[in-house]
């Protein structure tokens, strides 16, 4: 695929990836996010974080199976950054909408320039979040994965890659496996026992990781033969 075509395609893919967030805003504005809009936003942003992580991780296997699609590598960083984008929206949903913050009250304080009142609004949410981080393992693993994605996002620009050197950079970015496993674990740990909703993403992740493992075994075997 020509460079021009790739640049053009990027202009299509980039807004397409924003569509889930845009639809959330659209349905949110029209009061159409179902009975519990906050839960809906949490779920949609969480799911799309995992989908984008899986898409990112799918690029290498697809390129190996279909060398003609090698140009897909040009889209990996964008997809990875979108995973971070949705993970950040997910985290913000928790911080602003799920931690007992009285949002209308806080907004009223801001509009009235009542800074003391605004600060008071945060006392309870901060206590709630501290408690969650200290005691709840699904929160811990979720936060850990987000920190990993933050690290990957910060080291994603080309100049950082150059500065780190290819080997170091690749090592840092292999943490994406840990982030993905953490994300799926977060999902399993928050659903009720017996609920199998996280199964599809788990199978997809397992296939993508096993493919790499199989190639690694194959390579090792070949090296030994040589």
């Amino acid at each position: 695929m020509s460079n021009r075509a790739i640049v053009l395609l990027k202009w299509i893919v980039f807004p397409l990836c924003l569509l889930p967030a845009a639809l959330l805003v659209w349905f949110g504005v029209h009061q159409d996010l179902g009975a519990d809009p906050v839960a809906e936003i949490t779920h949609v942003t969480g799911h799309w974080t995992l989908y984008f992580l899986l898409l990112t991780l799918a690029i290498t296997p697809v390129r190996r199976l279909y060398p003609r699609l090698s140009w897909l590598i040009r889209f990996r960083r964008m997809l990875g950054l979108y995973a971070f984008f949705y993970a950040t929206l997910h985290l913000c949903t928790y911080v602003f909408l799920f931690s007992d913050l009285d949002v209308p009250g806080a907004i009223a304080n801001l509009q009235a320039h009542d800074w003391a009142g605004f600060r008071t609004q945060w006392v309870v949410p901060i206590a709630t979040m501290k408690d969650d981080v200290a005691r709840r393992k699904f929160i811990q693993v979720g936060l850990f994965s987000w920190i990993l994605l933050l690290l990957l996002a910060l080291t994603s620009p080309t100049w950082v890659m150059r500065k780190l050197g290819g080997k170091n950079w690749r090592w840092v970015h292999s943490l994406v496996y840990l982030a993905a496993i953490g994300g799926v674990t977060h999902f399993w740990w928050l659903v009720k026992p017996g609920v199998l909703r996280p199964m599809k993403v788990t199978v997809a992740l397992a296939v993508l990781l096993l493919a790499r493992f199989a190639w690694w075994l194959q390579k090792k075997h070949r090296n030994r033969m040589a």
């Binding site: 889930p20 639809l23 949110g28 009975a35 906050v38 949609v44 909408l97 009720k192």
Partner: protein, 321 residues
């Protein structure tokens, strides 16, 4: 109880039913235009069925109704349901439960009773006048609603069953039918959904045998045609679509208690001081008409402590959660 104040909520905050229904129609058309894309997989939950007209019920106002609370709109009560036999996502039962056949329907009485028998649903409906009772409804997942239920005290029904003196517990079993319940396989439930109450809890005047909500026959996803409402306990204790009632000498095994004993106790009284392992139970998100849920302090026994706390005198409620 001193911190409990009856909130002053304007009636303007309540979404009228027809407004909500129109909103759904708008959304369905918007979804048809917009969401029919590849994104449908992740955003399918946006598309909910239109609210259907249900059969009206004759009711009288209940004396034990809860006052001073803004009602959760009908559309939310009927599209946000934990009914795993019709899907584990809360939006799914409203889409899937149309396969439930609520006629003919019978409720079998078994166990420690003078005479086992089978009640027909229509005779149960007519057995006592239906009261409208507004109750707070607190889910173990830390969201809550305020719902006008229609039914009569479970005690009336229990008296009609003639239990023997050694009956100390009542077990409620829900329908389990793979033909009518397409998601039964993915529910994770190994048997029919089972719930239970101690006899004194079951006989308490607040415990409601429920046939309707908002003055209409229960929609299937809300547990038609007959369910329990135990307002001081987490929602999962209020079994839906009941087909069997057993009177027992010993505490029955109950579905969620079996699935996760550390997470769901047999009693499961609403208790802000006993956390769920994965979240705090101190507060709840009250689902109202607006975008932002109201954050409320969760009250002991869901605000019904004056009426029911004495049932648990001398019990360690941290141990018997």
């Amino acid at each position: 109880m001193s911190q409990f104040r009856i909130p002053q909520i304007a009636s303007s905050e309540i979404t009228p039913r027809d407004v909500f229904a129109n909103r759904r129609q708008f959304m369905a058309s918007a979804a048809a235009i917009g969401a029919g894309t590849a994104m449908a997989g992740g955003l399918a939950q946006f598309a909910a069925p239109a609210v259907q007209a249900a059969q009206k019920l004759q009711t009288v106002p209940g004396k034990l109704t809860t006052t001073g609370e803004a009602l959760t709109p009908y559309g939310k009560v009927t599209t946000y349901n934990n009914f795993y036999e019709f899907g584990t996502d809360k939006s799914e039962p409203a889409k899937n439960a149309h396969t439930l056949q609520t006629r003919p329907w019978t409720v079998a009485i078994e166990g420690l009773v003078k005479q086992p028998r089978i009640f027909d649903i229509d005779s149960l409906l007519k057995y006592r006048p239906l009261e409208e009772r507004v109750y707070r409804f607190r889910c173990v997942e830390a969201w809550s609603m305020v719902v006008p239920w229609d039914g009569y005290p479970l005690s009336e029904f229990i008296n009609a069953c003639n239990p023997l003196p050694d009956a100390k517990y009542v077990q409620f079993l829900s329908l389990r039918d793979e033909k009518q319940m397409p998601e039964l396989g993915s529910s994770g439930f190994r048997g029919a959904y089972s719930e239970g109450l101690r006899m004194d809890e079951a006989m308490h005047p607040l415990t409601l045998l429920t046939f309707g909500l908002y003055g209409e026959v229960l929609p299937n996803q809300d547990g038609a045609p007959i369910r329990l409402i135990v307002p001081w306990k987490y929602g999962f204790k209020s079994a839906k679509s009941i087909v069997k009632v057993r009177f027992l000498a010993k505490q029955p095994s109950t579905t969620w208690n079996d699935m996760g004993p550390e997470e769901y106790g047999f009693y499961s009284n609403v208790n802000p001081s006993v956390d769920h392992p994965r979240w705090s139970q101190k507060t709840e998100r009250r689902l109202t008409g607006g975008f932002f849920p109201q954050i409320k302090q969760t009250l002991p026994f869901n605000g019904y402590a004056d009426q029911v706390a004495s049932l648990y005198n001398g019990m360690d409620l941290r141990k018997y959660y």
